[in-house]
């Protein structure tokens, strides 16, 4: 009853507010009002408003946005009888309105993200449900799989209550009897090798006849062959921490209608954007906005969805939905949508419990995003969430927000090219005076930045969303258009995670970025020229030219993104603190492991006998494991050493020759989820709109020059002839 009253009050006051916002007030009143409101918003922002005050901040800033919407709709569209102006003008208008609509959806979703959940209630030993751990694989190599499987086996859960399954789609009968002899041979070899590996580790190997329905089909095959009450899914490159099940399984006991506990995807390597911009250590990763805020926001509305990995699902629910849905190529979200619509619940646990790998190259990054975008478009097409029966209103909005997000390439492109209509063709697609632009558009942009920063502040720095959207849009736009034209065509393509970039080079899909950059650069020169020659309309030229300059900054920054840095170290090191002993020539020394990668470790040895540690010296390292599975010594080969006082710093490469050694590496790398949490938090802070903007400006300038430098020096590194003309 109380909430009904609050709702009525809220609705009435919202209607009154909108009534006042939608008065056709004059620019003078607008200017004064937005100035006053924005000042208050800035002060609230500065005071780090929380709770109710934060809602006030958002409501104030939203009022400015709505005033802009009203003005933009009623006063700025070019007349319809000038189609050359009207059509691009309308497109720009629609793009802006789409952005505003998405802003409102995200306000709804994340205006109050669910606070981190209290730890899962422990279940009594005897009542623990049985769990099947599925590791679907397609083409990943055996070392990677060994680590993932070892980490899965290392999970802290009664051994008789869980089974690890390797679901191999690379060794299906269909693959092994392929027409292409080379491929068939490779599949055969893979089949044998993985079977052998699984046998050694104690993992169930499963493959099937045909590769139908891609990952969904593979998982369904796993379901058909297993019986556990719960199903945990880990991608082949997602190694779980020891506490994965302890943190998740307990929730299933609380709610019998719970079908999903999703956890974040934490990556130990940077994505290509972070790698090429060198922001991985300093700035929150792109996906942290999704896992740090959006999933928590969705969780508030019981709409956290399955992200394909790092999640636990209830078999009973999957049976009802007839397994994982395979209509789209994003089976995960689709499955969650289906089960939500049938009244099942999901929760999201905001604690990184797996560590995964991101694609190394820009091209495979784009490939991955294309799949997500196309899959979400298919969901929009086949199971339009707004009209999906059984969903609550809130869930409908949440799913619309998640799927419609992927339409961003359209507005992004329109924003990119709109200034050019004026600068190159003198079209007037936005009718407003310089003063009105100040009073409405600029205040809207400021309000928008403040809202974004208030919502995502420490997870997403200013202008970074725009950058990510831009670098994806260039190749996602055709992908999204193709799925709109032919919604059943896209097929599931596995994202390659094991590539590496050995030397500096331009991405193979970098050409359009340079093209766009130079077009915008020309437009910038045109701006200057027109300012000089057509001073009678300098105000409009300045406004449009400024907008184009902003686009040029984004495009310049993107040049850095597609200029891939060659890296000596192919795998990312993770900082750890693990006491150990190192054995060289039969002599044991006390030591401390400081950082670990899949291939090696950095170790401090407490010794002064540096001559005992020459290069290529073979030795062993022994350490206290977190898990129970792995024990024993891990062979190493020394790569380099340096001495500082009483301590020898030693870089070494692992030399595993048995499955047990892989388990030890997995234990070192993955067992402790606490370290990932700490790493993420070290990057999470909010630089604020102003500082964030300057920071972005700096990155953009540096990256523009780096991109241009790569264009000159590393244009065709792969060319066999090695020819630079």
């Amino acid at each position: 009853m109380r909430s009904v009253n609050i709702f009525l009050f809220w609705a009435v006051s919202a209607v009154v507010l909108v009534f006042f916002i939608f008065l056709p007030i004059d620019p003078r009143t607008q200017l004064v009002t937005t100035f006053v409101v924005l000042m208050i918003v800035v002060v609230l922002k500065y005071l780090q408003a929380e709770g109710a005050t934060r809602m006030v901040l958002l409501a104030l800033a939203t009022s400015i946005v709505l005033r802009y919407v009203y003005w933009r709709t009623t006063s700025t569209l070019p007349p319809i009888n000038q189609p050359l102006n009207f059509i691009p003008g309308l497109l720009l208008y629609l793009a802006e309105m789409f952005s505003v609509w998405m802003l409102f959806l995200s306000l709804f979703v994340v205006s109050r993200p669910l606070a981190p959940r209290p730890p899962s209630p422990g279940l009594a030993e005897g009542t623990l449900p049985t769990v099947d751990i599925f590791i679907p694989t397609y083409n990943e190599n055996s070392t990677l799989l060994a680590h993932t499987m070892a980490a899965a086996l290392n999970i802290d859960y009664p051994a008789d209550k869980f089974t690890v399954w390797l679901l191999d789609d690379g060794g299906t009968v269909q693959k092994r009897s392929a027409m292409n002899m080379v491929e068939a041979k490779a599949a055969e070899a893979r089949h044998a090798e993985l079977q052998d590996l699984c046998a050694q580790l104690g993992v169930r190997y499963l493959t099937r006849e045909r590769n139908e329905h891609a990952k969904a089909g593979n998982l369904n095959n796993g379901l058909a062959h297993s019986t556990g009450e719960l199903v945990a899914v880990f991608d082949a490159d997602h190694a779980p921490a020891r506490d994965f099940l302890k943190e998740t399984v307990g929730f299933f006991g609380e709610d019998p209608k719970l079908f999903l506990v999703q956890t974040p995807h934490f990556f130990i390597n940077p994505d290509p954007v972070e790698r090429n911009l060198q922001t991985f250590q300093k700035m929150p990763s792109e996906n942290e906005m999704f896992y740090g805020i959006i999933q928590r926001g969705l969780d508030k509305w019981n709409a956290a969805f399955f992200c394909g990995s790092a999640a636990v699902l209830r078999r009973e629910a999957l049976v009802i939905s007839e397994g994982f849905s395979g209509m789209s190529i994003t089976e995960d979200c689709e499955t969650a949508l289906e089960l939500h619509s049938r009244g099942w619940n999901s929760i999201y646990v905001d604690r990184p419990l797996i560590a995964g790998l991101q694609p190394e190259t820009f091209a495979s990054f784009i490939g991955q995003r294309s799949r997500w975008a196309q899959g979400m478009m298919q969901i929009m097409r086949f199971r339009f969430p707004a009209f999906k029966r059984g969903l609550t209103v809130a869930q409908r909005l949440c799913y619309m927000s998640s799927t419609m997000f992927w339409l961003f390439p359209f507005p992004r492109f329109i924003f990119l090219f709109s200034p050019l209509f004026y600068l190159f063709f003198d079209l007037e697609i936005f009718t407003a005076s310089g003063g009105e632009f100040m009073a409405y558009t600029v205040s809207y942009m400021i309000a928008n930045l403040l809202i974004q920063n208030s919502l995502y502040g420490s997870f997403r720095w200013p202008w970074i969303s725009e950058l990510y959207e831009y670098v994806q849009s260039v190749h996602l736009l055709p992908a999204v258009i193709s799925v709109a034209l032919n919604p059943t065509k896209p097929t599931f393509k596995v994202t390659a995670k094991d590539e590496s970039v050995a030397q500096n080079r331009l991405s193979e899909i970098s050409r359009p970025f340079f093209l766009i950059f130079f077009v915008l650069l020309i437009a910038t020169f045109v701006t200057g020229y027109r300012l000089y020659t057509e001073s009678y309309k300098a105000d409009i030229t300045l406004v449009v030219g400024g907008w184009n300059l902003l686009n040029l900054l984004l495009a310049g920054c993107a040049l850095g993104v597609v200029s891939e840095r060659g890296e000596r170290q192919t795998t990312r090191r993770v900082k750890v603190q693990r006491r150990a002993e190192v054995e060289v020539n039969g002599k044991w020394y006390p030591a401390m492991i400081r950082d670990v990668s899949v291939n090696g470790a950095g170790i401090q040895v407490f010794s002064t006998e540096v001559e005992e540690f020459p290069r290529d010296q073979i030795g062993n390292v022994r350490f206290q494991t977190h898990g129970v599975v792995a024990e024993g010594d891990l062979p190493i080969s020394i790569r380099h050493t340096s001495v500082r006082g009483e301590i020898i710093f030693m870089g070494c490469r692992f030399a595993p020759d048995s499955v047990a050694h892989h388990s030890l590496i997995a234990d070192l790398l993955y067992a402790n989820s606490e370290q990932w949490w700490q790493f993420q938090h070290s990057r999470r802070y909010n630089p604020g709109v102003v500082r964030g903007t300057f920071r972005f400006l700096h990155i953009a300038l540096v990256q523009t020059f780096r991109g241009l430098q790569y264009l000159v020096l590393h244009r065709e590194p792969q060319a066999k002839t090695g020819g630079s003309e």
Binding site: L23, P24, G51, L57, A115, M438
Partner: protein, 760 residues
């Protein structure tokens, strides 16, 4: 650099143009700018006229102009108005005598002055009045003149002798001199008025004014002021005179000058005592008599004063009021009207500054001065010679409303090209809209000899262009002298009679009252129904008009008005008024920081009409107003808060000033400027000034629809913008807090206390 410079110069000239152009106007009722206006060109000396013909005596001239001088300025200028003729005049052979001077810069070979009567061309003259005033005589073709209403249209097309700049077009002018511009009729006595329907043919004097001399033998004794003022209204309507002057006296003049209407009012007994009045005239309710030394007088008489009141009513019924000069169109609400309906037809233009204009009427409850935009959808074309850098300017009531730069080179055919005009400059009643196109060409920058004479059109305006006025707020408000002056609001058509308070019943006060009532009657097209009452006995629920010198009006009614004492002695010392202050402020260079600040505040003022020093939360109460000592008359309007009636006070320092001032405000140019809460005539500069109220009181809002209420609220909030900000702020905060409460009760929240530790 050169292009940049010239563009700067151009933009400067634009502002200058907007500031100094006397508004062009097709109105038949407006005078031109005063000829003394300094414009840099050498005015021709007025030298003795070469007398080519015998001028008729002054009393026989039918003067035509409505001001002493009619100035036609710029490359194209048109004036049109109407005059009335008796049947005998229309039938008579006539000559048109024209006297004019023109600027020395006007190139005769490329310029033309055209006069048309009733849409037929009468005169096409090459202007040669640069050296001295030229007087010309033209035979009027038979059949060109009509009995009753005739229209006259004067069109000057002028080109500069040497200069091709847009600035130079402001130096082009031709002045028609009223004193020697008239019709001369062959038939003797053609101008005699024979029946009451001829009253409108009284015409104007050499100064453009129509004088009503009301002679009342029993003035100040039995003659009731109410009856006399009803007569004044009847005369105002019957003559349709644009500029009126009333005088009341008790003795009959020996003659009536041209443009003078002598009206003798009295009982039969009063009139029969006068030698000039024969028995026949004295016995009729109205008649024309000849005055001893020339001219006529109209007699109005009856046995007693109630009978005279009846006679005046009969007179009113017998006169055919001349067609009221109204704007071509009135915007009663959302309006879409083409230029041709507004009287602007398709035309081509070969000069560099094209100007045309029209009028649009707004209702008395027009209330959209603070928001909203009207639009002109322009159908026009300009040739490929026209360079970007030109512009289309729209001026409303003399105020520059909008400037749209021409940005495309290579010519263009514009179809429904939108020009947005803020509604700010519109007001109730007649609004003059001027459209100007500045059309620079490359040839103009070179300016070869004879270039200005080039007649290749560079611009065309089509009559299909449209003026679109959106739905605007409608609310009747007080004070609003503009609505009163232009439309008689709220006195016209008032359900109750209007209470007229005369402080004194002398001739001077009466003439002021007659002026105001006559103007109001003309504005509303019908006589105002009024009763004269004592100052203290205004009936509740009746609107009132109070006329009298300040000392003789009830002091409480003028508590907010004060007339400054005249400065001691020394004539010729300039007052340091606001204008001089501005003058000095412009000449003091502020320090750098202050400069930025004042630069920013000027930018705000220019672009947003925003003056933060005057911003306040709630409408201010009306302050006391001090009028300059040189004020001769003022109008002040207020609302009686008890019964929502309107009081308009017409007052002056003394009765003599009141009568003088009444003649001044009766001039159509001055009357058109009446507005706001207070309007006064300053004799120092001979100008009419209006003071806007701090706040207005709503009398009624109709229709009481959601749409109208929303628009009324918009306009009110736009004028109280701080309040709007506050409302928005309060509502947004409320919604924010309620959203917070709502989010607490909706969706999941496992821990109410926990807040988002990272989300800051």
């Amino acid at each position: 650099m050169r292009a940049l410079l010239s563009a700067t110069v151009l933009s400067l000239s634009l502002t200058a143009a907007a500031a100094q152009v006397p508004s062009f106007d097709m109105s038949p009722e407006r005078n031109s700018a005063s000829p003394s206006q300094p414009d840099g060109s050498t005015a021709p000396k007025s030298s003795p006229l070469p007398q080519l013909f015998a001028a008729p005596p002054e009393s026989l001239r039918h003067y035509l102009l409505q001001s002493p001088t009619l100035r036609l300025q710029g490359e194209t200028a048109v004036r049109q108005w109407a005059f009335n003729l008796t049947a005998a005049e229309a039938a008579s052979a006539a000559r048109f005598i024209l006297e004019y001077t023109n600027a020395i810069t006007v190139a005769p070979e490329a310029s033309r002055l055209t006069v048309s009567i009733n849409n037929a061309k009468l005169i096409e003259e090459t202007p040669r009045g640069a050296e001295y005033a030229v007087q010309r005589l033209f035979e009027v073709p038979e059949g060109m003149l009509k009995p009753g209403r005739n229209t006259i249209r004067v069109h000057a097309q002028q080109r500069h002798r040497t200069d091709c700049s847009i600035d130079s077009t402001f130096e082009l002018w031709t002045d028609l001199q009223a004193e020697n511009t008239y019709l001369d009729f062959d038939t003797p006595g053609a101008g005699l008025m024979r029946s009451s329907s001829d009253i409108a043919t009284v015409g104007v004097g050499a100064d453009g004014v129509t004088r009503m001399r009301i002679v009342v033998p029993s003035l100040g004794r039995q003659a009731p002021p109410r009856t006399l003022l009803q007569l004044a209204q009847t005369l105002a309507l019957a003559t349709g005179a644009a500029n009126t002057a009333y005088s009341f006296s008790s003795s009959l003049p020996a003659s009536a000058a041209r443009g003078e209407l002598v009206v003798l009012v009295g009982t039969t007994a009063d009139l029969s005592r006068l030698a000039a009045v024969d028995a026949d005239a004295a016995s009729r309710t109205s008649a024309f008599i000849r005055l001893p030394e020339g001219g006529q007088a109209l007699t109005v008489s009856a046995a007693d004063w109630p009978g005279i009141a009846n006679a005046i009513r009969q007179l009113a019924d017998a006169t055919i009021p001349p067609v009221r000069e109204t704007p071509h169109a009135e915007a009663k609400g959302a309006t879409r009207i083409s230029f041709s309906e507004l009287g602007v037809s398709a035309q081509q233009f070969s000069g560099r500054r094209f100007v045309t204009g029209f009028e649009i009427g707004m209702p008395a409850d027009f209330y959209a001065g603070n928001y909203g935009k009207a639009r002109i959808y322009l159908d026009a074309a300009y040739s490929s010679d026209v360079l970007p850098g030109g512009s289309f300017n729209v001026t409303i009531n003399g105020q520059l409303a909008t400037t749209v730069p021409i940005t495309k080179s290579g010519g263009a055919v514009l179809q429904e090209y939108p020009i947005r005009i803020p509604m700010r400059h519109f007001r109730p009643g007649k609004n003059t809209v001027e459209f100007e196109a500045l059309l620079p060409t490359k040839a103009d920058t070179v300016c070869a000899p004879g270039a200005t004479a080039n007649e290749t059109p560079r611009f065309a305006l089509f009559g299909t262009s449209e003026l679109v006025i959106p739905e605007f707020a409608r609310a009747k408000r007080v004070p609003d002298l503009a609505a009163t002056a232009a439309l008689g609001f709220p006195y016209a058509g008032s359900a109750e009679t209007v209470d007229l308070v005369l402080a004194q019943e002398d001739g001077l006060t009466l003439s002021a009252a007659a002026t105001v009532l006559g103007k109001l009657a003309q504005a509303s097209g019908a006589p105002i129904r009024f009763e004269t009452v004592e100052p203290g006995s205004i009936t509740e629920g009746h609107h009132a008009i109070l006329v009298g010198a300040m000392g003789s009006l009830p002091p409480d009614m003028l508590s907010k008005i004060e007339l400054a004492a005249a400065p001691e002695g020394e004539n010729g010392i300039e007052r340091l008024d606001d204008k001089n202050l501005e003058f000095w402020q412009q000449r003091v260079r502020p320090g750098r920081v202050l400069g930025w600040f004042s630069g920013a505040s000027e930018w705000l003022k220019r672009n947003f009409d925003l003056d933060l020093t005057t911003a306040r939360l709630l409408p201010a109460s009306e302050p006391e107003r001090q009028l300059p000592s040189t004020t001769d008359i003022f109008l002040y309007q207020s609302a009686d808060t008890a019964d929502d009636t309107v009081r308009t006070i017409v007052s002056a320092g003394s009765a003599a000033q009141l009568a003088n001032g009444a003649e001044a405000i009766a001039l159509q140019d001055n009357w058109a400027k009446v507005g706001g809460i207070l309007s006064y005539h300053d004799t120092l500069e001979d100008e009419m000034l209006a003071v806007e109220p701090k706040a207005a009181r709503f009398l009624s809002i109709s229709p009481l629809s959601f749409t109208n209420l929303r628009l009324v609220m918009t306009n009110w909030l736009a004028s109280n913008f701080v309040l709007y900000s506050l409302i928005l702020l309060v509502m947004a905060v409320t919604v924010g807090l309620l959203t917070n409460a709502l989010l607490g009760s909706l969706g999941r929240s496992h821990d109410d206390e926990a807040s988002d530790e990272d989300g800051i």
